[in-house]
Amino acid sequence: MALRDKYYEHRRAILGLLSLVGLIGAWELCLTYVIPVDPFFFTKPSLIAVAFEEQILTGSLLHDLAVSSKAFFWGLLLAVIVGIPLGLVMGWRRRVEYTLDPFLTAMYASPLVALAPLIIVVFGVGLFAKIVLVFLLSVFPFIFNAFAGVKSADPLLINVVRSFGGKERDLYLKVILPGTLPYIVAAARLAIGRALVGIIVGEYYAASEGIGFAISKFGDTYRLPEMFVGIIVMSLAAVILTEIMRKLEGVIAPWRRGEEV
């Protein structure tokens, strides 16, 4: 009984772990004993582990990670610096909203990655083109979420602050900004996903280093274990960053935990 209760309590973790271990085990066993591995077509966990160790020892993995992170960081920072103020102004000033909204909506709805080849031709292979690409893809969530955050300010709360003699400045500091913050953190979560797309496409397309480049290069040369190392590292980075943002959403806005923006 007690054991069963324990199981139900931790069912998520137990079954999740079991299914991961099971899959990896089945994958390894299947390719070891059932189907012979065609190394140009498939690989198995033990080979990936060897490649992983090797890439860590030679330092190539860390180097690629550092290269990709740099473009990721600068592009995202630029998106924050440009996107949030733009969104806030759009939320505060109706005329600005009317002017920019159709243009920005069209841009947000479009697959801006389509511009990638041109950006790379114009800016050349390297860090700068990737930063531009990351920026272009990740700026829109910040704009639109900051905008939505301001718009969501409760008129009742605004009246409450006014009725206590609050000034314009108090409105911003006590109502609008706290209300917008969770939207911005949610935007960061969306933007991270889009920024990673920018990194990957940028590095697939034209780069000489970086995780995306590694994945594409090893793919072209049929070195599957090495390619899987890149894929797994990229996935891990994505999961970790996304989960941090989720946690941050809970910390920054505990009153709305569990709600989706």
């Binding site: 697959p111 080849p117 031709v121 496409v201 894929i231 990229m234 989960e243």
Partner: protein, 260 residues
């Protein structure tokens, strides 16, 4: 200026102004030689568009892209909805699949592109698979959330009338998840188009994405923009259509509860 026309005038005006400025750049300044190579104007883009249309090139590339898009999205719907539904109803299945769904959903599916090209070759199937990989998860996750978020009171209410599990699903769970599924479809369309574009950059010899990539390498900037604008128009059109369906289907919801 009339109040009601203000949004339209300002918004349309801004886009018109941007295009006009863009067109006027060569008249206003002389671009440095390095930059002039990459520069084009809206009128040149329009000319290139009609030229490509007359050649039948656009139609050819478009049909290839459209097939990858439709087949991939169709597969995503066929797989994503039942899996999302099952995950929402069964806690065991939810726990088993959760690590994969979380990981796949957080990671851009494009990391799989080189592998898919390696497996399926350069051609339609690698693109279908990347579109499928991109579009499945938003559909799956949204269906799952829609099923999960069903109101307990409503389920109990229907049970109190003696409803079977299947009736509970039909009467409460499914209608409740429809808005979520449609919102998922809207996201999935975006991901599918992303898949088509990037898939065709690398793993194709035809299609609009290929047209863009090869034009860029040959410095045919006007052709690049033709492709970009076609994708823009298609995305906007599809997104707006789904939004229309969304608002038609949610006439039972109060205005404030609509998703954006």
């Amino acid at each position: 200026m009339k109040q009601e026309h203000e949004p339209l005038l300002l918004g349309g005006g801004f886009i018109a102004l941007l295009l006009l400025l863009w067109e006027a750049v060569p008249w206003l300044t002389t671009l440095p030689r390095g930059l002039a190579l990459f520069f084009t104007t809206p009128s040149k883009i329009a000319a290139a568009f009609f030229q490509l249309l007359a050649d039948g090139q656009i139609q050819e590339h478009f049909s290839v892209s459209a097939v990858a898009f439709l087949v991939g999205l169709g597969l995503a719907i066929v797989v994503g909805l039942p899996f999302g539904m099952a995950m929402g109803r069964s806690r065991t299945l939810e726990a088993l699949l959760d690590p994969y769904v979380t990981a796949f959903n957080a990671t851009p599916r494009l990391v799989w592109l080189p592998l898919l090209i390696l497996w399926f070759g350069i051609g339609i199937w690698s693109k279908i698979m990347i579109v499928f990989a991109g579009a499945t998860f938003p559909l799956l996750v949204n269906t799952y959330v829609g099923v999960k978020n069903v109101d307990r009171v409503l389920v109990n209410m229907v049970r109190s009338f003696g409803a079977s599990e299947w009736q509970v699903i039909r009467v409460v769970v499914l209608p409740n998840s429809v808005p979520y599924i449609i919102a998922g479809l809207r996201l999935a369309i975006g991901r599918a188009i992303l898949g088509v574009v990037v898939g065709e950059f690398f793993g194709a010899s035809k299609g609009l994405g290929f047209m863009i990539a090869s034009a860029a390498t040959n410095y045919k900037v006007d052709v690049v923009f033709v492709g970009v604008f076609i994708f823009m128009a298609l995305s906007t059109l599809l997104t707006l259509s789904v939004k229309k369906i969304e608002s038609n289907l949610s006439h039972w919801r109060p205005e404030t509860a609509k998703t954006f």
